[in-house]
């Protein structure tokens, strides 16, 4: 009698797969799943104690308190809208870059890709701080506008606003969003374009009927890759958002770093995580990627 499963352990391909997957699985378990479980658990603890892993009587009081924090729901909604705008615009702007790299850059694609990634050679903080130098009252843009006599007084609205946060985040995310789109475009068989051309498809029709549908998985990946982390963003609003550009992540940060209330901060984080997942699931159901792909 052959035991069930014995085939799995002797299959060399499966063993290779398991061996390759093991490090990533362990890393994800240790650094993603475990912290998430800890955070969810913490949100049900009555209070912060020295025994974070010890037994406790679960309570929902932090969720009640989180729900009663004045304006928090509206701020979460605002953050979601900001993340949506950032994700849409960053993905839209990343697409032509990826298209150029995939189909037009030729042998210099590698060089251009490196240039695209050059900003990552400096720290995130430096790149965001550079926007302060650009947009400040005494910044580059205002100096030029005032110096050339176009305006008399600096435009104070350039910095410390929601628009500033959105613009900065779009800038930050464009290179990231380019990569998944590029990966998908790079796999498209260019002979399909030739075939479309043979069938008298105009360049625009080739793009609309061939390239775009085939690149939708990359677009979806780019959108989600930007949208999900942007909802919880707190560093960028902290640096360039000012009092008017606050996001939900800043409230969470306050409860972790300026208060001794990690359970409430955890409850707010879990709420944000839940809302994000719901939005993504609902979005995928509405958009129906499979339908878009013609499957």
């Amino acid at each position: 009698m052959i035991r069930r499963g014995s085939g799995r352990t002797t299959d060399p391909r499966r063993r290779t797969f398991l061996g390759l997957a093991l490090p990533a699985t362990l890393a994800l378990t240790l650094f993603l799943v475990a912290p998430l479980v800890l955070m969810v658990t913490l949100s049900f603890r009555p209070e912060l104690t020295s025994d974070l892993l010890g037994p406790f009587a679960p309570t929902l009081k932090h969720y009640e308190q989180a729900a009663s924090v004045g304006g928090s729901w509206q701020l979460l909604q605002t953050s979601a809208v900001m993340a949506f705008v950032v994700a849409i615009v960053a993905t839209a702007l990343a697409y032509p870059i990826a298209y150029f790299l995939a189909f037009r850059a030729g042998s210099k694609a590698g060089l251009y890709l490196i240039l695209l990634l050059v900003p990552f050679w400096t720290s995130y903080l430096l790149r965001v701080m550079a926007w302060k130098l650009m947009l400040g009252n005494a910044g580059v843009i205002n100096s030029v506008l005032v110096g050339t006599g176009i305006i008399d007084q600096p435009l104070t609205a350039l910095l410390y606003s929601r628009a500033t946060v959105v613009v900065t985040l779009i800038y930050v995310w464009i290179p990231f969003a380019t990569l998944p789109i590029l990966a998908v475009l790079g796999r498209i068989d260019v002979r399909l374009h030739d075939a479309a051309a043979d069938l008298y498809a105009s360049p625009f029709q080739q793009f609309r009927r061939v390239t775009l549908p085939l690149s939708l998985p990359g677009l979806a990946a780019a959108f989600l890759m930007v949208f999900i982390p942007t909802i919880g963003e707190y560093v960028t609003p902290l640096l360039v958002g000012g009092n008017a550009g606050i996001m939900f992540g800043n409230v969470i940060q306050d409860y972790f770093t300026k208060s001794a209330n990690w359970p409430l901060g955890s409850a707010l984080s879990v709420i944000m995580l839940g809302v994000t997942l719901v939005l993504v699931v609902v979005g995928l159901r509405v958009v129906k990627p499979r339908r878009l792909l013609g499957q």
Partner: protein, 399 residues
């Protein structure tokens, strides 16, 4: 309580902090920063600072420092301090004497809550930590700090009694006072004629040019000064009023500051005319801009930083030596002359010869101590409510 990414100040005026020295002319405390005793008879909040059980405490034991030569002391010591305080100048006496001790700063804090949360949850197991007045009671009540054997500190007699009292609870010394200073309003004199009240931070006349500290307890403290509320007994109605007022301020002004460099940059770009500030920001800005540091009619705020030893630290004796050397002369001089913070070492304050500093000591306002408010210890309920108020004000301002 103070996010202090340290910014090198320049020789300039300071420290009205230092003006304290001139105000204290008794031989015993002739040149020491004896702010607390002066305040003890003049401000209601001092009662919350100086333990009421103080008179019944028995005298401290005779000094009995460990006589082991420093070069024979070996080991490892970890310190949980604020970002920037790992600078060897801040522990130069220890660094020079204890060549065989490896001092580490495994993680840096950015707020009082950071330090407290790390020690409380055990996510930071450093031997020594650095909280500020306002948050000390928590460590004592929750058993997070070891009692300090002050007989082992050879520099302990250099610390004025009033400072010692800040770290003493139930007649037990839990903390060694180290740095101190003022909070008030720093402002540009070419933009604002004179500020004589904390209410200037709420004044719509300066809309767009005020930069408040991003801190709930700090905001409530200012509100209590403005309205004459008892800071230790803020009511729900008062907190609601504070929220309304601070929401208006946050809406009317572009940003707040979390670290002193943000405040200084705001002034230097010309965007900020007035802001909540420590004296170090004033000293830093003075050489470049026409600045003043307000003496509000309600009184300035003053704060003291202390060092404690974590409960259960395996390096207690070494930590005591570290705290002792923290009170050393070279360390104190570095703190005062390089960073314009006050030190609890009275000899250092007495030995200052810089004319600018001496001027700052003696002439500005000898009565400064008569109207300065020391930060009282918070209760957990106050801490949570005040931080929640500030958070909601920020949300409302951004909505």
């Amino acid at each position: 309580m103070f996010a202090r990414p340290l910014t090198p100040p320049r020789p300039a005026v300071l420290l009205c902090v230092l003006a304290m020295v001139s105000a204290c002319s008794t031989p015993a405390a002739s040149t020491a920063p004896t702010a607390p005793p002066a305040l003890a008879t003049t401000t209601p909040t001092t009662a919350a600072v100086v333990p009421t059980s103080e008179p019944t405490c028995s005298p401290e034991g005779a000094a009995n420092p460990d006589t082991t030569p420093p070069d024979q002391v070996k080991g490892n010591l970890s310190v949980f301090d604020w970002s920037g305080y790992e600078d060897p100048g801040f522990w130069t006496d220890f660094n020079k004497k204890y060549k065989n001790v490896d001092v580490k700063f495994p993680a840096m804090g950015a707020s009082d809550a950071d330090i407290y949360n790390g020690i409380k949850t055990g996510t930071n197991t450093s031997d020594v930590f650095h909280p500020y007045t306002g948050w000390l009671q928590f460590y004592v009540d929750e058993g997070l700090a070891e009692e300090i054997d002050t007989t082992k500190l050879k520099n302990w007699d250099k610390v004025p009694e009033s400072f010692k009292a800040l770290g003493r609870f139930n007649c037990k010394q839990y903390f060694v006072p180290w740095d101190w200073g003022f909070s008030s309003i720093v402002y540009r004199t070419d933009k604002i004629p004179k500020i004589d009240s904390w209410a200037a931070l709420l004044d719509p006349a300066y809309n767009g040019h005020i930069m408040m500290w991003d801190d709930g307890p700090g905001a409530v403290t200012v509100s209590s000064y403005i309205h004459g509320w008892d800071e230790t007994a803020i009511t729900a109605d008062q907190l609601a009023q504070a929220k309304t007022e601070w929401t208006a301020v946050l809406k009317a002004n572009p940003t707040t500051w979390a670290g002193e460099p943000d405040l200084i940059a705001g002034f230097k770009t010309g965007d900020v005319w007035a802001g909540y500030a420590w004296q170090s920001a004033y000293a830093t800005l003075l050489p470049d801009l026409p600045m003043a540091y307000a003496d509000p009619k309600e009184g300035r705020n003053s704060w003291v930083g202390v060092y404690g030893i974590r409960k259960g630290s395996p390096n207690y004796d070494l930590a005591l030596r570290f705290l002792d050397e923290k009170l050393g002369a070279a360390t104190g001089e570095y703190l005062v002359n390089t960073w314009y913070f006050g030190t609890s070492n009275a000899d250092v304050i007495a030995g200052i010869t810089d004319p600018t500093l001496k001027k700052a000591f003696s002439v500005n306002d000898p009565s400064i101590l008569q109207h300065t408010n020391f930060t009282p210890n918070l209760t957990a309920a106050q801490r949570d409510a005040w931080i929640a108020m500030w958070s909601e004000a920020k949300i409302a301002a951004g909505s």
